[in-house]
């Protein structure tokens, strides 16, 4: 792994944390509870790589995407865009928005139904300072990039005239038209028809491979993460429980939660998924002390209920936050991803 050869880190997050204060149900005054939506998550979005974040609803993956897009301010942590630290409390600048773009889950909700596609594409261009005479050409170019061909056919349509897959391509085009370096895709395929999902995944893959975008792909579908991602991060209750480069995490899951997640996926090609791996009833409790997964964990030990496990290194680039691997060396996330840490340092200096 050579410093010169490894691609640059576009967006880097360190110890990103977001807490929400809520009331305890049934008690109107005082008693406040803090929900740890995202707890100490670090990740690097690297040029030309797809990083996938997998988790069930409520795991904090969407809050993470919104913090990276700076729509939600982190409670603590650091963000670095191309090596430049971003002041957490500061307002999001236009410059940041032109580098980091977010694509949301439901394209029908994220495009304005009373405006034509043209409007959705040209407005961000104008806001980001494109000349009025150029915007149509730029909008057409963006539509061509997402394989909506010929673009003239789509510019003057309304969102309801397009199918879900086409409209999701439009919202990706809208994100692309300001020439971002980082694309955050929050469940971009889960609302779409099965037959067009792969088309969108292949489009993201193409943007990553051919145009060297850094992509964060958020999903609850671990099979699609395996299909697309260069790095997979599994989140549970706001924490990263397992992460690996490549598909190691899916092929040889080590954390009991990842194992549960994978064995739950309907998989007709694997009869054992139906016969033996069927998980027992699980509770939905999140532990306040110790490992957050302990109440649901089939392998929970005494130590799990008292002490929060650190990250253990399974192998190079594969980290699991579970006491089962206490014999392995402890890993700091940055250490687990060596070539990226070096990049992080080089940008700092």
């Amino acid at each position: 792994m050579n410093d010169a050869l490894s691609p640059p880190v576009q967006l880097s997050a360190r110890h990103l944390t977001r807490h929400f204060k809520t009331r305890v149900p049934g008690r109107l005054f005082d008693a406040k509870r803090v929900v740890h939506a995202v707890d100490d998550v670090s990740l690097n979005l690297v040029q030309g790589r797809v990083t996938a974040v997998v988790g069930e609803s409520g795991s904090g993956k969407s809050v993470l995407a919104r913090m990276l897009a700076r729509i939600v301010a982190p409670t603590s942590g650091e963000l670095m865009l191309e090596g430049t630290p971003i002041r957490i409390g500061a307002k999001r600048t236009l410059d940041y928005a032109s580098k980091v773009q977010l694509v949301l889950q439901d394209p029908f909700a994220s495009t304005n139904p009373v405006h034509r596609i043209r409007h959705s594409l040209e407005r961000p261009l104008l806001i980001h300072g494109a000349a009025k005479g150029d915007v149509e050409e730029l909008a057409k170019a963006a539509l061509t990039r997402v394989s909506l061909d010929p673009p003239e056919r789509f510019l003057d349509r309304y969102p309801h005239e397009l199918s879900g897959g086409q409209l999701q391509r439009v919202s990706i085009a809208r994100a692309l038209c300001v020439q971002p370096d980082v694309l955050l895709a929050d469940e971009p395929i889960s609302m779409l028809d099965v037959s067009v999902r792969l088309g969108i995944l292949n489009l993201l893959k193409g943007l990553c491979d051919d145009e060297r975008l850094a992509i964060l792909y958020i999903t609850h579908d671990i099979a699609s993460a395996r299909y697309l991602a260069d790095e997979i991060i599994v989140m549970y209750a706001g924490q990263v429980v397992e992460r690996s480069r490549g598909t190691a995490l899916v092929d040889e899951p080590t954390h009991p939660y990842t194992q549960l997640l994978i064995s739950s996926v309907p998989d007709p090609s694997d009869p054992t998924s139906q016969a033996t791996h069927r998980p027992e009833r699980t509770t939905f409790e999140v532990a306040e002390v110790g490992c957050r997964f302990a109440p649901r964990c089939p392998a929970a030990m005494d130590v799990c209920r008292t002490t929060d496990p650190p990250n253990f290194q399974i192998r190079d680039g594969h980290v699991s936050k579970c006491w089962l691997y206490a014999d392995r060396p402890e890993a700091v996330v940055e250490v687990a991803l060596p070539e990226r840490r070096r990049e992080g340092e080089s940008t700092k200096t």
Binding site: S195, V196, V265, P266
Partner: protein
């Protein structure tokens, strides 16, 4: 036969109850069933000439994307479809055992049944679980009240205490604590709410339960738990089930027989493992290849090109022809009928499998089902 459901109540004067001497093999028989939205010029045919049979205690899976007519089919079939949906033809015969002491088998045509007859059938013989449990449960009623109302309406002789006990029993059946009866829907998780919907659907011991995407809004772990739960409940109570979903791989695990719908028509019907091992319709093949695998090498998958069909603007000939990789001239002019393949019980609507097809059946669609070796062998070999 074609009538507006509202008109029908007055039109039908003679009840269509016909006692059967023999115990019918099928709980549900649908013949040439069609459903339209709107009338005359703006009419869209959402379900076109669908015929289906469902054996007792079996699971029929209906797979299809949005707009394929799968939900319209079950809503129309149970006469729950609202205007502008109109049943424009066909019959839906439901074979049920009557409530009376002698256990007489009755056959009821749901298409022509009166409101009064329907009221007797609904929930006690046929129940339905909808996709969104949050909108199916009344947000201002406690869960216990929902159970109470079902039992009060259909089991008039039950006392309040009996009803409460039955509700507790039902909750236990789906693995929930009985204290959930005092909760409101918003206090429960998505999975718990869907479990409650299933418990309510089973409250009157129906012969047929319809599940319309019951797990689509849930995450995989909860989905797995509910599917397992359904398995246990079904082997215990022996109800037949129609399970609708867009997730074909889930159906392969769950169903005995699967029909694949595209643009309101059945394009393929086969046993679950047959369909998975040896799809015969190009659309089925495309759907199966649309799910990235959990094992094996990471290969580039193509899915299905193009967009799902617009029902108001269907192509001539085969509806799938604009997206089909194996399209022939004939496909663009003539719509293929759903025909049986050889002696087997499976059927496909594709010209490739017609005897006089000019093109040889592509290898992907000609895979044989291995008789002795289990399903996995061929797949492992393939990947």
């Amino acid at each position: 036969m074609s009538t507006d459901p509202l008109e029908m109540d007055e039109a039908v004067t003679t009840p269509t109850l016909a006692p059967l001497s023999a115990h019918s093999e099928f709980v549900l028989e649908i013949k040439n069933f069609s459903v339209d939205y709107g009338v005359s010029d703006n009419m869209v045919r959402a379900v076109n000439d669908v015929s289906l049979n469902l054996r007792r205690s079996k699971v029929l899976g209906i797979a299809g994307e949005s707009g394929s007519g799968k939900s319209t089919l079950v809503y129309a079939m149970t006469r729950l479809l609202r205007s502008p949906g109109v049943i424009s033809g066909g019959e839906v015969m439901l074979n049920v055992t009557s409530e009376s002491d002698e256990k007489i088998e009755e056959t009821i045509d749901l298409v022509t049944a009166s409101e009064k007859e329907l009221r007797k059938i609904r929930w006690s013989h046929v129940s339905i679980v909808l996709q969104s449990a949050l909108s199916a449960l009344n947000p201002v009623l406690r869960i216990g009240k929902e159970f109470d109302e079902v039992l009060k309406t259909h089991r008039k002789k039950m006392t309040k205490v009996e009803r409460h006990n039955r509700a507790k029993e039902l909750l236990k059946m789906v693995g929930l604590n009985e204290d959930r009866l005092d909760r409101f829907p918003h206090e429960l998780s998505g999975g718990q709410r869907q479990r409650i919907m299933i418990a309510i659907a089973l409250a009157l011991d129906p012969e047929l339960v319809i599940m319309d995407e019951p797990t689509t809004a849930l995450d995989v772990v909860t989905q797995r738990e509910i599917i397992n739960e359904l398995d246990v409940l079904r082997s215990r109570f022996g109800f037949a089930m129609i399970f609708i979903t867009h997730d074909l791989s889930l159906l392969v695990e769950l169903a005995d027989e699967i029909v694949v719908m595209y643009a309101g028509e059945i394009v393929e019907r086969a046993g679950a493992s047959e369909l998975y091992e040896s799809p015969r319709h190009p659309y089925t093949l495309g759907l199966l290849n649309s799910f990235p695998p959990l094992h094996g090498a990471r290969l580039e998958l193509d899915g299905i090109p193009g967009s799902p069909p617009d029902l108001a603007d269907l192509p001539t000939g085969c509806n799938f022809s604009p997206r089909c990789p194996f399209v022939m001239d004939r496909c663009r002019t003539e719509a293929p009928p759903l025909t049986r393949l050889g002696e087997s019980d499976r059927a496909v609507a594709c010209w490739l499998h017609a005897g006089d097809s000019p093109r040889q059946v592509p290898v992907e669609l000609a895979r044989r089902v291995p008789r002795s070796t289990p399903a996995v062998a061929t797949l492992k070999g393939r990947s």
